[in-house]
C-alpha cells in the first residue's frame, strides 16, 4: 500500500483548506459535546425518517455545495481574468473545472431538487410521509456520503481532472492514473443509487399516497413536475450506474469497454453518459417549472392557465428528452442522417418548453400580481430562460453547432439555462416554501440585495462568454495568449466575465446573511398560510406537525385550499365534526446512516484500489440490509390525545394572532 501521496501537498490554498477543515470539524465536535447535543443530533436528525427533516438536510447540503462549487467557479474566473496568469497551474485548473461541474449538477442541483420534493410533495397531496420513509433516509445519506467522498478528493489523494463527464480514453487509467478519477466514479455512483431510490420513492408516493379524494387531475403542478422528473430518473439513472460500473471495470479490473486499445470503444461511453446526461438536465429543470407554476398562480391570485397543456408539456418533455442525447456530439461524425434526426428532436423539445412560458404569462394576464421574492425570481427567469432557450435552439442546428461546440458560446448557453432556469427556479421555491418549513419568511431587503447582485452578476458574467465563443475561445483552457503569435483579443471580455462572477458570489453572501438574519428577525408565520396560497400545504400549520395532516383533507378539485377559503369567506363552508384517530407513523432508524458509512468505506477503498477495504465496506452494506430486513418494530401510532393537544395549540396560536392583529 503506497501512502506517500495520500495527502495533497504543495499548494498553499490546499493547506489553507486542510486547516479550515480540521478547525471546522473540531468546532462542530466541541459544540455538540459542550451543549450536550450528541443525543439530539442522533435522535432528531441522523436517524430521522421524517420527509420534512430530510428535506431540510438536503437543503443545507445543497447550499453548502453551492458554496463549494461557487468557490471553484471564482477560482477559475480569477485564473482567466488576465491572459497568461499563473494563479493556477494547468492540472490544478483542470481539477477545479471538473469538480465545479460535477458538484453543481450532482451535489447541488440534485439535492436542492430533492429538498423541494421532500419539503413539499407530501404536504401538497395530503400525505403523512413518503411511501418508503426509511428508503428516503437511505437516499439522503447515500447522497451525503457520496458528496463527502467526492469533496475529500482535493485534500486526500487529489481531485479528478478529466472533465465533469470524464470522457474516456482520457479518464482511463492509461491517461488518468491514481485515485482522482476513482473519486469521481465512486462519489457519483454512491449518490446516484440514492437518487434512483428517491425517484422510485416519489413515483410511488404520488401515485399511491395522495389523500383519497385527490384525483391525478387535481394534483398541483409542482407535484406533476415531481412525477415527470421522477419518471425520467427511473429511466436515466440506471444508465449512469451501469456506465460507471463499466468504467470501474476498465480502471479497476483491467477491462476494455472504453479503452482505445483491445477493442474498447470510447464513443460508446459518450453515448451512454449522455443518454443519462441529457435527461438529467430535464430532470433538474422540470421541478423548477413546477415551482414557477405554483408561484405564478399564487401571486397572480388566479388559477393556473392551461392546466392540461402544462401537464401534457411536462410529460412530453420527459419523454422527448430521451431522444436528444446525440446533440452533445454532433461533431463526432455520426453522419448527416443521424445528426438531422437528433437536431430536429432537440428543436422539438423547445416547443413544450416555450408553451409553458406562454401559459405562465397568461396566468398573470387578468390576474393581480404581487411582487414578492419568489415572484422576483420568476421575473428574472423569464427573459433569462427565453434567451437561453433561443441559444439552445441555435445550438440544435447541427451544422451551426460545428462552430459553437465546446466553445464559450456553449458554456454561456448552458449556464444560462441551468442558472436562469434551475437555480432561479429552486431559489424561488426556497423563498416560497421557506415559511412553510421553518415558520418564518426570509428578510425582504437582504433578499433584494442578493437578487440584484445575482442578476447583474449573471449577465455581466455570461453575456461576454457568448461573444468569446464567437471569438473562438474554447472551454477548459487554463490560460490564453500563452503560445507565441496568437492574441485573439479574449482578454477584456474575460475580465468583464470575472467581475460578473464575483458579483454573483457577493449575491450569494447576501443570501446566506439573509437566512442567518431571518432566523432571528424574519417575519413569523402563525397562520400557516404565509402567501394566501392555493394548495393543501397552506392549510396546515407552519412548520407542519410531524404527522402533517391530523385528518386527511377532502379535496373537491384543483386549488383545494383556495376554494375552501372562498367557501369559508362566503359562509358556505360546513365544518365536519372532528374525530381524530390514531395516526400510523414510521419509527426512526439508524440503519440508513450506518449503511451509508459502509458505502463510504467501500467507496474510499475502491478509490485507492485497496480491494480488501472496498470489499469489507460492501459486506458491511449487505449486513445492514439484512439487519433492516429483520427489524419488525418499525412503526408506531400517535395517540389521539397528542393529536388533539397539537392541533389545539395551533388553533389557539392562530386565534391569538388574529386578536392582536385586530
Amino acid at each position: 500500500m503506497d501512502t506517500s501521496h495520500f495527502f495533497v501537498t504543495g499548494d498553499p490554498m490546499i493547506y489553507g483548506a486542510d486547516v479550515s477543515i480540521v478547525l471546522a470539524v473540531v468546532a462542530i465536535v466541541f459544540c455538540l459535546t459542550y451543549f450536550k447535543k450528541w443525543g439530539w443530533i442522533w435522535r432528531e436528525w441522523i436517524t430521522t425518517v421524517d420527509h420534512k427533516k430530510i428535506g431540510i438536510m438536503y437543503l443545507l447540503a445543497a447550499l453548502l455545495m453551492l458554496f463549494r462549487g461557487g468557490v471553484d467557479a471564482l477560482l477559475m474566473r480569477a485564473q482567466l481574468a488576465v491572459p497568461n496568469a499563473h494563479f493556477l497551474e494547468s492540472e490544478h485548473y483542470n481539477e477545479i473545472f471538473t469538480t465545479h461541474g460535477t458538484i453543481m449538477i450532482l451535489f447541488m442541483a440534485m439535492p436542492f431538487m430533492f429538498a423541494l420534493f421532500n419539503m413539499v410533495v407530501p404536504l401538497q397531496i395530503g400525505a403523512r410521509d413518503v411511501a418508503f420513509p426509511a428508503l428516503n433516509a437511505i437516499s439522503f445519506w447515500l447522497f451525503f456520503i457520496g458528496a463527502m467522498l467526492f469533496n475529500l478528493s482535493f485534500v486526500i489523494g487529489g481531485s479528478p481532472n478529466a472533465g465533469w463527464l470524464s470522457y474516456p480514453p482520457l479518464s482511463e487509467s492509461a491517461f488518468s492514473p491514481g485515485p482522482g478519477q476513482n473519486y469521481w466514479i465512486w462519489g457519483i455512483q454512491i449518490s446516484g443509487i440514492g437518487s434512483l431510490a428517491t425517484g422510485i420513492n416519489f413515483v410511488v408516493t404520488i401515485l399511491k399516497m395522495r389523500t383519497p379524494s385527490m384525483r391525478l387531475r387535481d394534483m398541483p403542478l409542482f407535484t406533476w413536475s415531481t412525477l415527470a422528473s421522477s419518471i425520467a430518473i427511473l429511466g436515466a439513472f440506471p444508465i449512469l450506474t451501469v456506465t460507471l460500473a463499466m468504467l470501474t471495470i476498465d480502471r479497476l479490473l483491467g477491462g476494455h469497454f472504453f479503452t482505445s486499445t483491445a477493442g474498447g470503444n470510447p464513443m460508446m461511453y459518450v453515448n451512454l453518459i449522455w443518454m443519462w446526461g441529457h435527461p438529467e438536465v430535464y430532470i433538474v429543470v422540470l421541478p423548477a417549472f413546477g415551482v414557477f407554476s405554483e408561484v405564478v398562480a399564487t401571486f397572480s391570485k388566479k388559477r393556473i392557465f392551461g392546466y392540461s397543456s402544462m401537464v401534457f408539456s411536462m410529460i412530453a418533455i420527459s419523454v422527448v428528452s430521451y431522444y436528444t442525447w446525440v446533440h452533445h456530439f454532433f461533431t463526432m461524425g455520426a453522419g448527416a442522417d443521424v445528426n438531422i434526426v437528433f437536431a430536429i428532436c432537440t428543436m422539438i423539445i423547445a416547443i413544450p418548453t416555450g408553451v409553458k412560458v406562454f401559459n405562465w404569462l397568461f396566468t398573470m394576464f387578468r390576474g393581480r400580481v404581487r411582487i414578492t421574492q419568489p415572484m422576483l425570481w420568476f421575473y428574472a427567469f423569464v427573459p433569462c430562460f427565453l434567451v437561453g432557450g433561443a441559444t439552445g435552439v441555435m445550438l440544435a442546428a447541427a451544422p451551426a453547432d460545428y462552430q459553437y461546440h465546446n466553445s464559450y458560446f456553449l458554456i454561456a448557453h448552458f449556464h444560462q439555462v441551468l442558472i436562469g432556469g434551475v437555480v432561479f427556479g429552486y431559489l424561488a421555491g426556497m423563498y416560497y416554501w421557506f415559511p412553510k418549513i421553518f415558520g418564518f419568511k426570509l428578510n425582504d431587503r437582504l433578499g433584494k440585495w442578493g437578487f440584484w447582485l445575482w442578476q447583474i452578476g449573471f449577465y455581466v458574467c455570461f453575456m461576454p462568454q457568448y461573444a468569446l465563443g464567437f471569438m473562438g475561445m474554447t472551454r477548459r483552457i487554463y490560460t490564453y495568449n500563452a503560445s507565441a503569435g496568437w492574441d485573439m483579443g479574449w482578454a477584456p471580455l474575460n475580465m468583464v466575465s470575472t467581475v460578473g462572477a464575483f458579483l454573483m458570489g457577493i449575491g450569494f453572501i447576501f443570501q446566506v446573511w439573509q437566512i442567518v438574519y431571518s432566523i432571528k428577525h424574519g417575519e413569523r408565520d402563525v397562520t400557516g398560510d404565509a402567501w394566501d396560497g392555493r394548495t393543501l400545504e397552506w392549510s396546515i400549520p407552519s412548520p407542519a406537525p410531524v404527522y402533517n395532516f391530523a385528518i386527511l383533507p377532502e379535496v373537491k378539485g384543483r386549488d383545494a385550499w383556495w376554494y375552501q377559503k372562498q367557501e369559508m369567506k362566503n359562509g358556505d363552508y360546513q365544518e365536519k365534526p372532528v374525530k381524530y384517530e390514531p395516526i400510523h407513523m414510521p419509527k426512526n432508524t439508524g440503519v440508513p446512516f450506518i449503511m451509508a458509512c459502509f458505502f463510504f468505506i467501500a467507496g474510499f477503498g475502491f478509490t485507492f484500489e485497496w480491494m480488501w477495504m472496498g470489499v469489507a465496506g460492501l459486506i458491511g452494506v449487505v449486513v445492514t440490509l439484512f439487519v433492516r430486513s429483520f427489524q419488525y418494530d418499525t412503526d408506531y401510532y400517535i395517540p389521539v390525545e397528542e393529536i388533539e393537544r397539537t392541533e389545539n395549540e395551533y388553533r389557539n396560536r392562530v386565534l391569538s394572532a388574529q386578536q392582536t392583529a385586530n
Binding site: P169, Y402, I456, M488
Partner: protein, 315 residues
C-alpha cells in the same frame, strides 16, 4: 434602497456598454467572419436561426413586460381581474402552432445545410487530402500526395477544397479552424472526414476544442492558406530542406509534451493508417467510419489515392 437600485442599474448599463464597445471590432469575432465556403454556409444558418428565434422571443418579452406592468396588484389598478379565467383553446392553438412552424422552417434549413457540408464545397476543383492526428499535446499533419509532414501548422492551397481526415493517437480532441468552418472530433481508432476550404490567402487560427489533459490549452495551430503555386513551392522546399520523420521520430513526438512548429520531408509509409489501427481501428473497420464524408467513400471507388488512405498498406 431606491437610490441603490438606480446606481446598480447605471453600473449595469455601463458594463453592458463596455461589452458592446469591446465588440466593435468585427474581425475579432472570427466565427462571424468566415474566409471560406463552409464557414459561410454555417454563418448563414447561424443568422437564420438567430432571426427565427428573435421572431418568437422578442414579442414574448414584450408581452411579458406589458402583462407584468398592467396587472400589478395595486389598489387603483383598473385592469380586469378574472381569477377563474384559465382556459382558451384559441390561444393554446396559437402558441403551440407558432413554435411548430418555426421549428419546421429551421429544421428544413438545418437538414439541407447538414447534407451540403458532407460534400466538397466546390465541385470543379480537384480536392487535396490532409491527414490530421491529434497527439498529446500537438497536432501532426501528413500530406499523402506530397509525402511530407508538419507539426502544429498546416499549409493549404487557397480555393481548393481540403478533405481533412482526422484521427487521434490517444485521447479525443476536436479539430477546429473557425474561419474556415466548424469542427470535427479526432477519435482514436477512427478516421473521420471534414471538408474545409479557404477562399483567399491568409493565416487562420486553429485549436483543439475537446479537452485532453495537461497541455490542452497549448494545442493551438496555424493554418496558412497560400496560392496553389506557392503551396507547391512550399512543399518542394520542405521536401528539400527539412529532416525526415522516422519511426523513432514519431515515437518521440507521441510522448506527452508540447512542441513548436516542425516540418518533415517525409514520414514512415502508412503512418496515419498505423495510428488508426493501433488505437483500435483494427476492431472497428474504420473505413466505414468516415462520418460526414460519405462522399469520400464514393470517391474511393474512382480514385483510391483520393481517400487519403494508403490502401496498399491496409493488408
Amino acid at each position: 434602497m431606491r437610490k441603490w437600485t438606480k446606481l446598480a442599474k447605471y453600473s449595469f448599463l455601463t458594463l453592458l456598454g463596455m461589452v458592446l464597445l469591446a465588440g466593435c471590432d468585427r474581425s475579432k469575432y472570427i466565427v462571424l467572419d468566415p474566409k471560406g465556403p463552409v464557414g459561410h454556409e454555417e454563418l448563414r444558418l447561424i443568422i437564420i436561426s438567430v432571426i427565427l428565434c428573435a421572431v418568437v422571443i422578442i414579442p414574448v418579452i414584450g408581452i411579458f413586460v406589458y402583462i407584468a406592468i398592467r396587472y400589478r396588484d395595486t389598489p387603483d389598478n383598473k385592469a380586469p381581474y378574472q381569477p377563474e379565467w384559465a382556459d382558451s383553446k384559441v390561444l393554446e392553438v396559437i402558441w403551440w402552432g407558432i413554435p411548430v412552424v418555426i421549428v419546421a422552417i429551421l429544421g428544413v434549413f438545418t437538414a439541407k445545410t447538414t447534407l451540403n457540408l458532407t460534400k466538397p464545397p466546390v465541385k470543379d476543383v480537384k480536392p487535396i487530402v490532409i491527414q490530421v492526428t491529434s497527439l498529446d499535446w500537438k497536432w501532426m499533419f501528413t500530406y499523402p500526395d506530397k509525402k511530407i509532414a508538419t507539426v502544429n501548422y498546416a499549409e493549404i492551397p487557397a480555393g481548393v477544397p481540403v478533405q481533412f481526415v482526422l484521427t487521434s493517437s490517444g485521447t479525443m480532441n476536436s479539430f477546429w479552424v473557425p474561419q474556415l468552418g466548424g469542427q470535427e472530433y479526432t477519435m482514436p481508432g477512427m478516421s473521420m472526414g471534414l471538408w474545409l476550404q479557404a477562399d483567399k490567402t491568409g493565416e487562420y487560427f486553429g485549436s483543439g476544442a475537446n479537452f485532453t489533459g495537461k497541455g490542452f490549452a497549448h494545442m493551438q495551430f496555424r493554418v496558412k492558406s497560400v496560392t496553389q503555386e506557392n503551396f507547391n513551392k512550399w512543399a518542394d522546399s520542405v521536401k528539400k530542406n527539412s529532416p525526415a520523420l522516422t519511426n523513432q521520430g514519431y515515437k518521440n513526438l507521441e510522448k506527452p509534451g508540447l512542441e513548436k512548429e516542425l516540418s518533415f520531408s517525409s514520414y514512415p509509409k502508412g503512418l496515419y493508417e498505423d495510428i488508426v489501427n493501433k488505437h483500435g481501428g483494427t476492431y472497428m473497420d474504420h473505413m466505414n467510419h468516415m462520418g460526414d464524408s460519405s462522399s469520400m467513400s464514393d470517391m474511393k471507388k474512382d480514385d483510391k489515392s483520393m481517400s487519403g488512405m494508403d490502401m496498399e498498406h491496409n493488408k
